[in-house]
Amino acid sequence: GAAPRADRQCPACGELALDVESHRELLLNLAKRRILDQLRLSQRPTLGRPVSRAALRAALQRLRGPPQGPLPEADGGQEYDIISFAETGLCNTTQTRLDFHFSSDSSAGGLEVQQARLMFFVQLPPNTSCTLKVRVLELSPRDTNLTSATQHLLEVDDSGWHQLRLGPEAQTACSLGHLALELAPEGQAAWSPVILAGAAHRPFVAARVRVGGRHRVRRR
């Protein structure tokens, strides 16, 4: 076709390489746009609640643990690993309430949570153990919580980090953007285990999420 106009030379098809310095602003904006588009973000996030370096380091160290088993085959879409730190709500002696928020920035295609596990730090008196009950709270439309039938029991026999693989109800709650959990000791323990929530021991959920994949139709 006609030779492209000089001010719209496409550097790829045979013109002089772009003079980088005189186009710096253009290239920086292009890079920003490209990264935001690939992350399905309309603009860069403004951080609501800053995360302490100690919590970041502790979470990343925990995630380096053994891989969590094979994932369903990738059927397109972008995969993300998300660490969501708890907002600790009711923290009284017998119950601990943990709320996690998953922003649905990447609204295109919706979040498909493939795996989710809860990581939390328990302080126990020496030579004791307990059974912890973890309940997934179902949120009714008005966001008042109803305890659901879903609960997990977890044997805890020493202080330290513990993890619990969460089931489909919790994964669905993550996909919908808000997961609420309640931890309480099972039975009448003489004392109650303490779920730590300080900077370096903040409970978190680690989720493997896919966005924009073609949801497989399960054939019966």
Binding site: L39, Y80, F85, S103, D105
Partner: protein, 116 residues
């Protein structure tokens, strides 16, 4: 592939590094410190068309010239300088709920260029 040097005219890879601190994104992108948004630019004469990088051997160039002259009548379109090797960009960042997100964005970094 070949990296562009000075006023290079042939198809080459132009390096361009975006420092996240320079654009004020270092507060929400934890790792890496920047993004190598390299791109391809330069001439692609017909006799090097189809070369993976243009570091073609002399022999290949002669053969290609012969092909080009015998096919001179062909009305094929121009050959363009395009990426031939690309790799993903791994990002660790905060989302708007201050969750930490890790993802690998495929084909974001151009490693080599060549003539289509």
């Amino acid at each position: 592939g070949v990296d562009c040097q000075g006023r290079s005219r042939m198809c080459c890879r132009q390096e361009f590094f975006v420092d996240f601190r320079e654009i004020g994104w270092h507060d929400w992108i934890i790792q890496p410190e920047g993004y190598a948004m390299n791109f391809c630019a330069g001439y692609c004469p017909l006799h090097v068309a189809g070369m993976p990088g243009i570091a073609a051997s002399f022999h290949t160039s002669v053969l290609s010239l012969l092909q080009a002259s015998t096919a001179a009548g062909s009305t094929g379109g121009g050959s363009c300088c395009v990426p031939t090797v690309r790799r993903p960009l791994s990002l660790l960042y905060y989302d708007r709920d201050s969750n930490i997100v890790k993802t690998d964005i495929p084909d974001m970094v151009v490693e080599a260029c060549g003539c289509s």
